[in-house]
Symmetry: D2
Subunit: 389 residues, 4 copies
């Protein structure tokens, strides 16, 4: 019989954790429960931990973390219990779901009724978007709406995806981040005859090669980029980037901004890169990255997922003179997961995806897990696993 | 016989003019000379006058005004003399040119050899782009490479366009600014099923409705926008905007930034505009305009043609959270003039294009002309005409 | 009290009508009933009448008309009765609906679950798309799923739109056709620097200017086309086209295909049009229209909504050599109606939209109505109105 | 000293060859001469050999092979002699060229003056495009404008590209075909959120995997396709396709059209492919391929480079009902060669590019070479090498 008490790692305030028990949730015909195998620690979780708790600032979706929460949204697990209709209706691509099937989920819950849902479905511009692991206070039932838990409750309006048999949990846990690299598919859309975005053979710079940046490196390679340049302050991460497809790396250590910009230009016949993607979460990376783009180049702001303050920008120099195309990208499309997992399966032999998860901690060691996640010289992806004994 | 001495209005330093004589230029088989009818005073000329003399900052095309110059590039005039091959080769669309034909020209001289010219011809991303009225010191022959002059020398590598017979000079002088509104054609390209850019029926905000902004108002109307909102500090200009197709106007006078942002939202079902175009030349307009765009909205930086310094931007709030698509637009395509003049002819009856030029000054009254051009409550487009007697 | 028996015009087989009574439908909390003011006769209805009864041939949505049906889907009417939740949930843009409100509806019912609905929501690529007035046999309850009726039943999964107060019924009835002209918004998306689609100032040919083609003429004008050429066999329709914005007309009478192709080229500097839209419903129009497009031109197949057989095409000549971009367009986005009605309101003074409906027949005179609809020299849009007495 | 008499393989009429001598050409300051290492036999050459001699039919560029010609345009060789200015001006990306440098060239000569060159430079929509190896009668000086020759004369208006040192001749000879796969970059441009073109993880069908189709297989892989299906009648070629990245193959032998269409659907969850590319040169492949595309799928007509007659198409079924996006693609952009060679170098270790050239024949054995080129069960790319002794 299933344990009626579910262990979770709760963030009660920025920087503060508590291991708590919640009742195992009741499901109706349209929902299900996942028994978790693991759940990643994501940059968003780190923003929240540091007290950067405002998301979607200035938009109708603006949110302030409703502590206490159960963090975590890079989820992989197995169906523990499933409602009658959920079995045939909840899997995104229409597959039947049975108890024991391995699944991942998209953290975003979309309202389906606002202007954006009506006019641009498929991408979470939703005015009322709310994220698992982030937007739901765990004081209220069904409590279990975050991934650092033994079980997670899946609402009828969530998006769940069956994991192909050939992917084990340590690779399937990358599905969300691979879906996030839709950023590069988007940049690629802009490509027309050398004008914008990047074509096959073009140059892509990734600023910051933590887990999210690393997946962008691999995706740039998958999409046919001709030269991929990774930038980071951690040599450990830069070596990872090389293994995931980067051609060149530039360290923040011992270099000035001007030297790094010059280094990118030197690698691109003096021009700058076709596409630069910010995966750092740091505002100061942005003017630096804008200088690294070529004329008509594309700059993707993808990492500053929480409000981290202002930075001075010179609109003539950074936008107009260079004819920059800048894309602010938050979230990713629910429709991207199926192909994400196809790519993870297809490129397992090309990139060492099995080394992506570097550390596993049971959720009752959440403090250690989080500490490791911040150690950019020792860890790539840290995941939280079920509670021990 | 033609006068051998050509009168010009020379800018010798920011804010300083001198009326000078230069020899009438010799032409070869591939060039021509235009006898000017009029030449507009453009925002770029005003930037230079104020000492904002760095253009294309931070790019390979970066330029610093090489005083003394003959300013002026919104040119209309008649062919005064034409070389043998120029007669059949110089007109952009392949029309034959004869002495007496009315023409306009594109100010940009492209190198034709750099990466951008080779890979993206059609839009001046050229690394070595140089502009008539701006980038050529008039100390050196052929001297006459600016429009505030009785004659202008047209290089073999320039772009010249025959004016349709139905356009008189006061409308033809708008050709360049109408070509600049390609900014909106570009924004429209991004439109896909409500996602980005603007579709027919969409909302467009124009920040600043001087001559350049005013043409954007008309163009937004021509492209099927459903609601056009003009913003300016001058009631005179806002009235003009209404006559050129704006549905709503917002004055900077007596309103705060927050009130203006709220006013735009109130006009757009609370969402913000699909597209916002900066036509102000002022850095501080940019964060305000970014707040006026809806989620996934498009922001076009078009007015800060010279370096006017920095402004604080919040990358989470202004770019990522709202999923902004920002386009930096400098220059315009040489291929845009033919259609620009078609549009000027087609919409003469719809918009009062004949009221666009509000003031004419002979070039020996250049100081008065410039003073008037800065008087945003009395003048729309001020033009310089040939020297008197 | 409401009459419990609803009069309808039923098509029992191709070419055969019967006026029948059905019970007034019962609604639940999520549906509503419209009392019709009028409903257009559309080209699709004419296809069905002629026995061209296969739609979406060769696709998962392939349908064969399930006679008997109540035809008609260009619907305008007033809310007669409305369920409790429908009042706040059914209107597309989120407006509250009350009894007496004027509404239009989109005929398409989408499944919401297939690959296309999941991945490309917003455009009816739906594998199971079914249309009001077409895909529902009226033998079964709720019977009233077509517009040639005194009342129509609106399912909870249908799309309904409140009509702006300034539009009377004879203009609101155009909403669907205006939404269909999304064809041109789509073609415009392809535009990049003169390459494809059409820019402002470009040339658009409309083959066939019955009601659907006529709306495309107006829309091309609204979108800033520089020259619009209408082709038809009826001088009556060609005069209409001139009034709705066509610059030039070409009659099929007394001209050969080669002459018409030549006429289009003569109007386009010898090049052919940027965009050609087939609005004829006749297969033989297609090779002719393909010859009218310029190199790299865009050809939209929009009129052959039912299977009308084969036509010989030369793939080298018609596709490859000319680098044609061909778009097959069926249906239109549900999200297009709001802007459609905005455009109808905005351009009422520019185009004589009030002359679009030329004939009204009560539904018990359906035979006369259909006969008139086929009389292309006397009628533009024929509508069916409620039964008499 | 250089031999003053140059040996060439001349096609004097369809199916007829003659080995002829021409004088070594004189160059001026702006042109150069290449000593050939090898030159491929292309599908276009085979069309001409079979008497399919009309190209660009129905367009202003329509051409009829002006026999006698020196065929061949997939060229690789070394600079034998070079004019003074050619040395610094002729190489596309601005590199200096010296005698002995290995180069490839783009066969297309563009006029630079027509509407298309002015408005859409970068892609040979040119009204007057003429191809090396095809459009120049060799009776007239400089005679040597085709690749089946010991030397080739390079006009000042041609496009020449220096070969990276790491590419040997047998790989460099693939540069043009790799540039032709721009077809897929183009199809990818249409991708927006699952709607059109193909995203990473999408499905691509290549009809016909001779040399051109084979390169499309590799390119689809490079661009991140998730499933690549190759179709051909030769098992030899299908095995090649597997080695170049195809996931699945379908043979024309022993299958009906309906079975092949069904096979594609079975591999794509019943939907059909996102993109289908015709690389067969056979008209009858087109309706079959159109049936293989999913709703909203993209069909690229790329192989029927010469007029091969008509085929019946059902416009409702093949275009409208399925919402097909069809792209007719002829030629390829001159700007594509630099990146083509980058990709050849980058993916040498992934695909067995060194096996692509299967047969080499000296040009005095041109009959044998051509016979082998038609033997689709024994040869992939057949190249012509310099004359013996």
């Amino acid at each position: 019989m299933r344990n009626n008490s579910v262990t979770t790692a709760v963030m009660t305030a920025p920087g503060k954790f508590d291991v708590r028990q919640y009742p195992y949730p009741e499901i109706d015909h349209a929902s299900l429960v996942i028994e978790l195998e693991m759940c990643g620690i994501c940059g968003t979780d780190k923003h929240t931990f540091r007290g950067e708790t405002v998301q979607f600032a200035g938009t109708p979706a603006e949110s302030h973390t409703p502590f206490p929460i159960i963090p975590g949204h890079e989820i992989v697990g197995r169906v523990a219990e499933i409602g009658r209709t959920a079995s045939t209706s909840l899997e995104f691509s229409g597959q039947k779901l049975l108890v024991g099937d391995r699944v991942v989920m998209c953290p975003d819950i979309l309202c389906g009724k606002c202007y954006y849902c009506k006019n641009t479905f498929g991408f979470p511009l939703c005015e009322k978007v709310r994220g698992y692991g982030n937007a739901f206070c765990c004081d209220e039932p069904p409590h279990l709406l975050g991934g650092w838990s033994d079980y997670i409750y899946v609402r009828p309006d969530a998006f769940v995806y069956r994991v192909p048999d050939e992917l084990d949990a340590r690779i399937a846990v990358m599905a969300e981040l691979m879906a996030v690299t839709y950023n590069l598919d988007k940049a690629k859309e802009l490509y027309t005859m050398g004008g914008e975005g990047f074509g096959s053979g073009g140059t892509v710079v990734i600023q910051g090669v933590g887990p999210m940046g690393l997946m962008h490196v691999a995706k740039a390679h998958i999409l046919g980029a001709g030269r991929i340049i990774a930038i980071d302050r951690s040599d450990y991460r830069l070596r990872f980037a090389k293994d995931f497809g980067a051609d060149d790396t530039i360290s923040l250590n011992g270099t000035t901004q001007a030297e790094r910009v010059e280094a990118v230009r030197a690698l691109t016949d003096g021009r700058g890169a076709d596409v630069v993607v910010e995966c750092t979460g740091a505002a100061e990376a942005i003017p630096e990255g804008l200088e690294m783009a070529r004329r008509g180049g594309t700059y993707v702001v993808a990492g500053v997922f929480a409000d981290v303050g202002e930075i001075p920008i010179n609109p003539h120099r950074h936008f107009l003179a260079n004819q920059i195309r800048l894309l602010g990208m938050t979230n990713h499309p629910p429709s991207g997961y199926v192909n994400s997992m196809k790519l993870l399966a297809r490129y397992r032999g090309v990139f060492p995806f099995d080394r992506f998860v570097t550390d596993e901690f049971p959720l009752n060691q959440i403090d250690k897990a989080m500490e490791r996640a911040f150690d950019i010289d020792r860890a790539m992806k840290v995941v939280v696993t079920p509670s021990e004994g």
